[in-house]
């Protein structure tokens, strides 16, 4: 029990379960998945699809945070990516041709890669503090996206491109397949090679890492590049979802959601040890939370308050202090007076709403 409570994924998973239970109570068929037109349909599938872009952004963010950095520009990069892809499609005579779509995707990803390289350059070569270095692109990036779209929302019809956002593959949403697939590959690479450890060393003690021969600068540069690339991919999924490039709103505040996902997943913003499986759960928690607001029928006026309370409860439960308390409460012969898992009342409260 103690071991379970101490597991780093315990609280994020518990939060996810509580949210799902709350939804199921409000809407008993919430977890039902039906087959419609040969693909799966239902709230859980929707959640997987809406998680997809956030997951990609959070993936890059986790790696950046591991090196003690942060990337505020991801939202702007999302916007740029969508703008480039859709503008290219819109300007081409045949937006339905796979070649055009591939070119659009390629162009968008290439530009986002360059944006990532730019962030990496500012941080690792010029030594500018990450938050301010990426703030520059956060501001200017949306301007670039608007420049590309001329300030309008660019829309286009392109079957193959639309598949990215709302298509299905083997019954599953293509967006989810892509995001979870990329996530799995990156997680595999990071953990099966020495990359993870070297990133962590860089994040914990850059000076010691340098003296140990770790190419800290190159690594730092790489993670920002990766973050740009993943944000670009997320931008494609987002724009394909509605088939519109909205330079102003695409990916707005996604950096905060992504950081939150990383933190809920148990990775400290101070860098070092990171936890990709936690990030995955964190992203799912956030996507589910958004759905929960609708399903529980929470008034828009109290939605931010509700979100805040959930975040506060989850983070407090996850806090080292609470964990210790809970762990020692379960370890001891359990005196009945001890306010057992202090969490319980709060979590049922969430359910009750």
């Amino acid at each position: 029990m103690t071991k379970l409570l101490r597991h780093h994924l315990f609280w994020p998973v518990a939060a996810l379960v509580v949210l799902l239970v709350a939804n199921t109570v409000a809407r008993p068929s919430f977890l039902a998945i039906t087959v419609r037109d040969g693909h799966l349909f239902g709230a859980p599938i929707d959640i997987l699809r809406t998680t997809a872009p956030l997951l990609l952004v959070a993936l890059g963010m986790t790696l950046v945070i591991a090196t003690r950095g942060i990337d505020l520009s991801v939202g702007a990069v999302v916007a740029v990516s969508g703008a480039v892809a859709l503008s290219h499609l819109a300007s081409s005579p045949n937006p339905d041709s796979p070649v055009t779509v591939l070119t659009a995707v390629g162009l968008a990803l290439a530009l986002c890669l360059v944006l990532g390289v730019w962030n990496g350059f500012l941080v690792s070569v010029l030594g500018i503090q990450p938050i301010i270095a990426t703030l520059i692109l956060m501001t200017a990036g949306r301007g670039v996206a608007m420049l590309i779209t001329g300030g309008m929302i660019t829309t286009v019809n392109s079957g193959p491109f639309k598949t990215l956002g709302s298509g299905f593959w083997l019954g599953l949403p293509v967006a989810a397949v892509i995001a979870f697939g990329v996530f799995a590959v990156v997680a595999f690479v990071v953990r099966r090679t020495a990359l993870g450890m070297l990133l962590e060393a860089t994040g914990i003690n850059p000076a010691a890492s340098r003296l140990s021969g770790v190419r800290s600068k190159t690594l730092t540069w790489t993670v920002y590049t990766a973050s740009g690339l993943f944000a670009g991919l997320a931008g494609l999924l987002i724009s394909a979802d509605t088939m519109a490039a909205d330079a102003n709103n695409a990916g707005l505040f996604i950096e905060l959601d992504a950081i939150l996902a990383v933190v809920i997943g148990g990775t400290a913003l101070s860098g070092g040890k990171f936890n990709l499986s936690g990030t995955l759960v964190g992203a799912l928690v956030i996507a589910t939370l958004e759905r929960t607001v609708t399903v529980l029928g929470i008034s828009p006026l109290v939605t931010p308050l509700f979100m805040a309370l959930v975040v506060i409860v989850v983070t407090l439960l996850q806090s080292p202090r609470m964990r210790e308390r809970l762990a020692s409460a379960t370890r001891r012969p359990t005196p009945p007076s001890e306010p057992q898992p202090a969490a319980r009342p709060d979590s049922t409260e969430v359910k009750a709403r």
Binding site: A133, G141, V263, L269, V311
Partner: protein
């Protein structure tokens, strides 16, 4: 073993008389700010007028106060993402209560106090529950914003006579103007400076940023100081809200979205390290002026489309940060 006696003097460290390295980033900011003013002055008519400089302060008084509070938190190695929302909350509380007929003498402490209470909650979360500052204050940001909507989703005008009287107090010396908001902001800057440099609390703020573990082992009151830093920031945000309410004579729940980024950017541009321990309140004030000046330049340029505005802000920020970095690196 106790062999001894090489001259003590040989071990004395020669302390260079050159400027303390800690001041370099601030100095860098100052130099680039001056350059910007000069360039602006040569490019635009009326740019270097007292009116423009006075407006720079008048328009940014609330941001100066936020930046002072933010400096405390960042010096401890933390961050406060809630200030924009808390500022909005304070404007909403001010406007709602004034509209309900309460006198300013009651309303003002309540509005500022709302910030203090939220700051205290942050401090407790950060210190006692060891929640990461970014997350604790992000939750606070959602919370304050949510509370705004619950109190008043629509914007509320303030027409309480004595409040308006206070808000519209202005002193004019030649072309220079000084509003009550600016006066309050300057007092806050002065107080922030004195507290940071002449109290144990202030020095402990620096010590915590230099190494929390070390500060703890030095027997400094880490817990109290850390919590207090967030209280200071929360209070400043509440006060900033009050200034904003005075400035705009209204309260609105959507005010100050992303203003925390401006405050953080100002502090960082002012030479404070986000890792904590190094930086100055006066630097943060310079940082605010830089951001304000960028905005002024944009307006004076007068032909930028919406997107070029964003791009130019980004580029100016970049030029600024890189120049400042170059200036502060040159001598290390």
């Amino acid at each position: 073993m106790t062999t001894s006696a090489p001259a003590r003097a040989s071990r004395a460290l020669k302390i260079p008389t050159r400027l303390d390295r800690r001041y370099l980033p601030v100095l860098g900011t100052f130099v680039v700010l001056a350059l910007m003013l000069i360039l602006g002055g040569s490019r635009y008519e009326n740019f270097l007028s007292p009116a423009v400089v006075s407006n720079l302060f008048i328009n940014n008084a609330h941001l100066i106060v936020l930046a002072v509070g933010m400096t405390f938190v960042i010096l401890t190695g933390g961050i406060d993402l809630s200030v924009g929302s808390v500022l909005a909350l304070s404007t909403v509380v001010t406007a709602t209560l004034l509209q309900a007929g309460l006198p300013p003498a009651v309303v003002i402490p309540l509005a500022v106090g709302a910030g203090t209470v939220i700051g205290l909650a942050h401090g407790v979360m950060v210190h006692y529950f060891q929640v990461q500052p970014f997350v604790a204050t992000l939750a606070g940001m959602f919370f304050a914003r949510g509370l705004c909507f619950v109190i008043a989703p629509e914007s509320i005008a303030i027409d309480n006579a004595s409040f308006v009287g206070l808000a519209s107090w202005v002193q004019i010396f030649g072309g220079w103007r000084m509003s009550s908001g600016v006066l309050i902001a300057l007092v806050v800057v002065g107080a922030g400076f004195l507290v940071l440099h002449f109290t144990r609390f202030g020095r402990t703020v620096y010590a915590i940023g230099g190494g929390e573990q070390s500060a703890l082992l030095m027997g400094l009151p880490v817990a109290r100081t850390k919590v207090l830093a967030y209280v200071v920031s929360g209070t400043c945000a509440g006060l900033g809200g009050l200034l904003f309410a005075m400035y705009s004579r209204s309260g609105y729940s959507l005010t100050g979205v992303a203003m925390e980024l401006d405050a953080i950017a100002a502090v960082v541009i002012g030479g404070t390290l986000l890792t904590g321990g190094t930086g100055f309140v006066l630097g943060s004030v310079l940082g605010v002026l830089v951001l304000g000046l960028i905005q002024t330049i944009i307006t004076f340029e007068g032909t930028l489309s919406s997107w070029w505005t964003k791009i130019v802000i980004g580029v100016l920020l970049l030029i600024f940060v890189v120049l400042q970095r170059a200036l502060s690196l040159r001598k290390t």
